[in-house]
């Protein structure tokens, strides 16, 4: 893993003037609108989510989530780039993917607090929005309609992933069957006597 140069605490500049704050909010709203889970929400609803979400700033090389840590929610990348890695039991670290602005990860963490399955690290200085389970549960009290829309969208994303995983599993099973059949045929050919 790249050497960690410096770490930045999760505080955005505290003395922003109002115009800058409005501009930043607009940027955040435009990013959120493109996230699958927030598709179809009205601008007011996106604003409500942006207001209750947490804004964090991660420096290059800084870990955002750690594999094995209890999950609290999802993250959306406003600016920057992150890499997703997974450590196997033998210590091998596998790079899974890289995400850029507009990408999101950890959405399953909104539903339960199971341990994270991968580590996500900032490749360069990044601004991230965190939307967490306590906020979602609070939203269920304060705005049940919006909360149910979010939960439904989350279910859609998970259903799509499950279908994809099933398809991949089926393909893998077919590949295995094909390989086994080919191996059987080659064994039969080898045992036939030469005439």
């Amino acid at each position: 893993m790249a050497e960690k140069k410096k770490f930045v605490d999760g505080i955005w500049e505290p003395n922003l003037d109002r115009a800058r704050k409005v501009r930043i909010e607009r940027d955040i709203v435009s990013v959120l609108q493109k996230v699958t889970i927030f598709e179809g929400l009205s601008p007011r609803e996106i604003h409500d989510i942006a207001r209750i979400a947490h804004h964090r700033h991660y420096g290059e090389g800084e870990a955002i989530i750690h594999q094995g840590q209890a999950s609290a929610g999802m993250y959306i990348i406003v600016e920057g780039k992150v890499q997703v890695t997974k450590e196997w039991k033998d210590g091998t670290i596998v790079h899974l993917t890289t995400l850029e602005a507009g990408g999101f990860f950890g959405d399953v963490g909104l539903l339960d607090n199971a341990p994270r399955t991968a580590t996500v690290t900032a490749v360069r200085d990044s601004k991230i929005i965190g939307f967490f389970r306590p906020e979602l549960l609070g939203l269920m009290d304060s705005d049940p309609k919006l909360a149910s829309k979010l939960v439904f969208k989350l279910a859609e994303v998970l259903a799509r992933r499950l279908r994809y995983t099933n398809n991949e599993l089926e393909k893998a099973q077919q590949d295995i069957d094909r390989l086994e059949a080919a191996q059987k045929d080659s064994t039969k050919t080898d045992t036939q006597p030469l005439i």
Binding site: M1, F7, V8, D9, G10, I11, K34, V35, T36, H54, H55, R56, Y58, E62, A63, I64, I65, Q69, A70, S71, A72, V84, T85, G91, T92, I93, V94, H95, L96, T97, L99, E100, A101, G102, G103, F104, F105, D107, N113, A118, G130, F132, R133, P134, D141, S142, D143, V157, R160, R161, Y164, T165, E168
Partner: protein
């Protein structure tokens, strides 16, 4: 921008992409890199191992030993720092306990009223306006209650004070109390009579009595002070005489105490106006604190989370949420419990025909907030009311009130507690008592009531810190 559906599936399609396998870092120098405990394969028979393998095994064992030593030293250092910080914190808390109690009360009021403000804010009402209205309502209610209660209590205290000083009423009260005490068995009276004997032996009553007519032992007749030589003819009369002397002794000591206290209060108020002013400013400060805590609660919470470093951000978020749930659950359940028990006691006292049944019920309900000893403390005012004058005899009054208290405890433990409070706070009985005593010592009445939930929250915080720190020290020692 990444296609979200691709993003969501990329995590599961690593076989379709070029995968970069990253091996654990190894030092290029001759000495081996920092070893973990499993870097060398296990050797079943060391004698069969090659010299190089034996050397490597010895080095690995040595490094593992060093790692363990470093880990143990680190833990000791951390423990020392934690204990030092704890001692310092306790000292600071003790120094600023008055301010802390004020902040805690304001926080408590704000926390209880928070859900009401949130509910009204959801109906698109301005939060600040809602808070202002609620605070004004509380202020008006408090002012009304204070005016009525204080004037009523002041009137009654003045009446009691005058009655005690008035000889005729005083004699009536003494006679009534003596008759009540006379009905008690000797076993219960033994300590009181022993106290009387000691007081008389030290001659305090003779010296402090200014009017021989008031003294139980002397009387003035034709200008001559004579000893009242009581020559009782039977044991019952002897007992009655002793009880009369005891009650008169108590009356004199009470009057002397009240007189001393009044002088002290007058002296304090006349020498410095700080007393009354201090109480007023404390109330105002508490009001403003509550207002700001209520109004800015969501912002304060978010600001607190924002200052947490990234490494501890998620665990802190989970911890704060757990604390919020635990405290909220505890306060709500205790409020319901207090209300239910207050109603139960008020009904019970009303059925018994006691005066001030509602007030006594509320006192008993609130006293139940104090673990274990609270219910018995709450029964004392009712016992005093029975003692001072009720259609119930003392014995029956004691029995009935005790029965009522035990019934309330049974209902509380069997129904209310399991249903409402449950396991919201998991502290053992010994720990609970210790914590309550410490709370009372540090923060008085507020500490008495809030000690248990604060202790439970501290326990949760330390558990989370320990869990997180274990992972942190491992990463320092093993370099990952």
């Amino acid at each position: 921008m990444n296609n979200p559906s691709d993003d969501s599936t990329k995590l599961h399609s690593s076989s379709d992409e070029a995968v970069n396998r990253v091996q654990p870092q190894q030092s290029s120098t001759d000495t081996p890199a920092l070893a973990t405990e499993t870097i060398t394969p296990p050797i079943s028979n060391p004698e069969l191992a090659t010299p190089a393998a034996q050397t490597l095994t010895r080095e690995s064992v040595e490094q593992t030993r060093q790692l363990r030593t470093v880990s143990a030293m680190l833990k000791l250092v951390v423990l020392g720092i934690v204990l030092g910080a704890l001692a310092l914190s306790i000292g600071l808390i003790y120094l600023v306990r008055d301010i802390l109690a004020l902040v805690l009360v304001s926080f408590l009021i704000a926390y209880i009223l928070g859900p009401i403000v949130d509910a009204l804010e959801r109906r698109r009402l301005n939060r600040t306006l809602v808070v202002v209205i609620i605070m004004l309502a509380i202020l008006c209610g408090f002012a009304t209650f204070s005016t009525l209660a204080v004037s009523s209590v002041a009137e009654q205290v003045t009446k009691i004070h005058d009655d005690i000083r008035n000889k005729g009423t005083g004699d009536l009260i003494v006679s009534m109390v003596v008759n009540r005490l006379d009905s008690l068995p000797d076993l219960l009276l033994a300590p009181l009579l022993s106290y009387l004997k000691k007081s008389e032996e030290s001659n305090e009553t003779l010296q402090e009595t200014t009017n021989p007519d008031d003294s139980p032992l002397t009387s003035k007749k034709d200008g001559v002070i004579e000893l009242k030589l009581a020559e009782p003819t039977n044991a019952a009369a002897v007992r009655h005489e002793k009880l009369s002397r005891l009650v008169r002794l108590a009356q004199e000591q009470t009057l002397k105490y009240i007189s001393n206290q009044s002088e002290q209060i007058v002296s304090m108020l006349s020498n410095s106006a700080r007393g009354a002013f201090s109480a007023f400013t404390t109330g105002i400060i508490s009001l403003f604190l509550t207002f700001f805590l209520l109004n800015d609660a969501p912002r304060l919470r978010k600001a607190f989370i924002e200052i947490v470093p990234n490494r501890f951000f998620e665990p802190m978020l989970i911890l704060v949420n757990q604390l919020d749930q635990q405290l909220g659950s505890y306060l709500r359940s205790r409020l319901i419990q207090t209300a239910a028990l207050s109603i139960f006691f008020a009904l019970g006292y009303w059925i018994l025909g006691l005066r001030f049944a509602i007030t006594l019920g509320i006192i008993a309900g609130f006293a139940n907030l104090i673990p274990y000893i609270g219910p018995f403390i709450g029964a004392v005012p009712a016992l005093i009311v029975v003692f001072l004058g009720s259609h119930l005899s003392l014995g029956w009054g004691l029995l009935v009130i005790l029965g009522l208290t035990l019934t309330a405890q049974l209902i509380d433990n069997a129904i209310i507690f399991p249903l409402i409070i449950g396991k919201s706070v998991e502290l053992g009985p010994v720990m609970t008592i210790v914590v309550v005593l410490l709370g009372e010592r540090f923060l008085g009445l507020v500490g008495l009531l809030m000690a248990v939930p604060i202790a439970a929250m501290l326990k949760l915080i330390f558990q989370e810190i320990y869990t997180e720190f274990r992972g942190y020290t491992r990463s320092i020692v093993h370099g990952n």
